[in-house]
Amino acid sequence: MTDTSKQINDEARLRSLTSTTVPPRLAQPAAPQVRRSIGRISGRDVVVLLGSGLTALATTELLFGRLAPFRGRLGFVVVAFVLFVVVYALLVSLTEDRPQVVDRVMGSLFSAAAVIAGAALVSVVGFTLWRGRTALMKSNLYVQDMSNTGPLDPLENGGILHAMLGTVIIVSLALVVTVPLGLACAVFLNETRSRMRGLVRSVVTAMTALPSILAGLFIFATWVLILGFERSGFAASLAISIMMLPIIVRSAEVVLRLVPGNLREASEATGAPQWRTVWHVVLPTARSGLVNAVILGVARGVGETAPVLLVSGITSTTNSNPRSNPMMSLPLAVFEFVRSPQPALIQRGFATAAVLMVLVLALFTIARVIAGRPVGRQSKRQARRMLRRSAKDLGRIEIVVGGSR
């Protein structure tokens, strides 16, 4: 009995699985299906966005001064944004369900965060250029120093030559130390199999975040207090080196990691020793990225104020000797100018800050252009140079046809 009943059961189940039930046809056909748009932005979205934006602006305008005693620019922006989010959510909820509304609101919050970041950058750059514009126009800013200029002198007198020269000297000296050491350390982290690599890597990371004042304090404690040298541009360049080194190591290491392993193996397969592989294959392949790393380090070093303040000191004369006497740098000059209450000096401070910022931004743009090229891709000039070199190599190779060896 059990057997047969099971069999019947199974058959029924099988039939129910394999048969297809056709839904009963409705008397009236439902409305024809509309093709759903899956694109990100539809015309309706734009209208809703614009509409809620306008509503928010208009309402806030009414609230500020007309209907309620609100005032202040910051308050205006905040109230307008809050109103915008509320109105936007309301409009979206007319057609969409809850998850969609939440999605739109969160999207507008993210966009607002990015806009705030962008606005902050624009206002920092714009404000500095604006306040420094008069002093920037005066050509004496770039060719004079402050040695013959009193605090009450007009902008036509005095400049920041001493600070520009000091920055160039200090950063060049720092580069002499950091470029070989930094690149070698990056090669160490990436090309060797030493057991210390993990430790070195985490120490370099920690060093990236070393407060700059401590680098200055360290050089002050050792170079000035213990070794007894005087405060000088060289001491400043030592302190700046400590700040630049970890940046160069970190970004160079990231680039070296991108060098394809098969290039290394190809080189080793030809019998090249490791140091030749690194020198002739790895480093040239990553050249653009390495230049980028050095530029990033320079951009960091140029902007450091505190270490220079501690170990080099403030001066108003041009000093081209890094071994003795205080030496000024651009950020230190900014700092010194704006500590004074004199309007002319403050204007000079802004002009100096503008020069410094343009320098850093230019360095940064160059770095981005260079880094835009992927590792291992040659520019046209590099490719031509490689061709020439290998043509020269061909001359050395003796082709023996039918030889025995």
Binding site: A114, S123, L214, L217, G303
Partner: protein
Amino acid sequence: MQTKTALPVRDDERPSPTPREISSRRGRGDRNFNRGLSLTGISVLAVMAAVGLFLTIEAWDAFRAVGFKFFTTSTWQPDRRVFGVAAVLLFTVLIALLAVAIALPLAMGTALFIVEVVPSWLRSTFIAIVDLMAAVPSVVYGLWGLFFLQGQIIGLSRWLTTWFGWIPLFNVSGDDPTSPLASGTVYTASTFIAGVVVSMMVLPIACSVMREVFSQVPPGEREGAFALGSTRWGMIRTVTLPFGRGGIIGGTMLGLGRALGETIAVYLIISPRFDVSFHVLENGSNSVSSLIALRTPEATGFGLSALMAAGLTLFVMTLVVNFVASIFVARSRSGAGSEA
């Protein structure tokens, strides 16, 4: 089908081939090369160790003079042997926490905007904006804070203390917000303004770490969420944020490390004070690094040793914060294994 194997003709004359000795031992040049490279690694370690060591040596006198009271005294008078970092450290931490509190939501929003919201042709522009923010020297941020932001933000400070003055943090003594003649000078040079300016420097650091981690979210999981009918925010909440948790924490702590050590911008904005106060909106604040920058140029002997002790405190603090941060960041990277 049958296959035939042709055996090679045996040649007894030839000596049997012996396997060639293959050694992975490097030549002398390479060994020297490796030694030289290790030396550079050691030198980096040595520099960092020397920073800690020499700060400790120089700070020894100060620590021996006051002992543990160094962390409980708030005045700074090394010549009378009465000094400590209680107030300075408190202000440093307050500035850093404020900066992180402001920068964290902005950095997270910006990172999510860059990774998820912005169309791809605009993405590199926003990445460049964040990178440029990181590249602007801190003295420029200080100028901006001192001459631009301070004027704008006093209204906000007054509003906060008017409505939220009952929270001790926002209380301001010495100003009656209801008086129309109040000048607003009580609100200048405060911890709050310093915190806002430092947050502008923390934002790009935290943002770039978060962006990096968010962009490593396995595409399979993202698309899986979308395929299940999730909205973009639903996907972010269930996939991106859990995946990037390590990056969010690590990026925030890296920013905190930067905020603790910020010197020149804070120095420009605050007017130093040495009493313990939690009123962040009030005039006057301090920080370890600006204390060092302010006092070192004219300090001698024992005063210098006291400053070194303050520097050592800052060194240990940033080191701990950064090591914790790098552990979190490293851990979040290892989560990328779920891609398989």
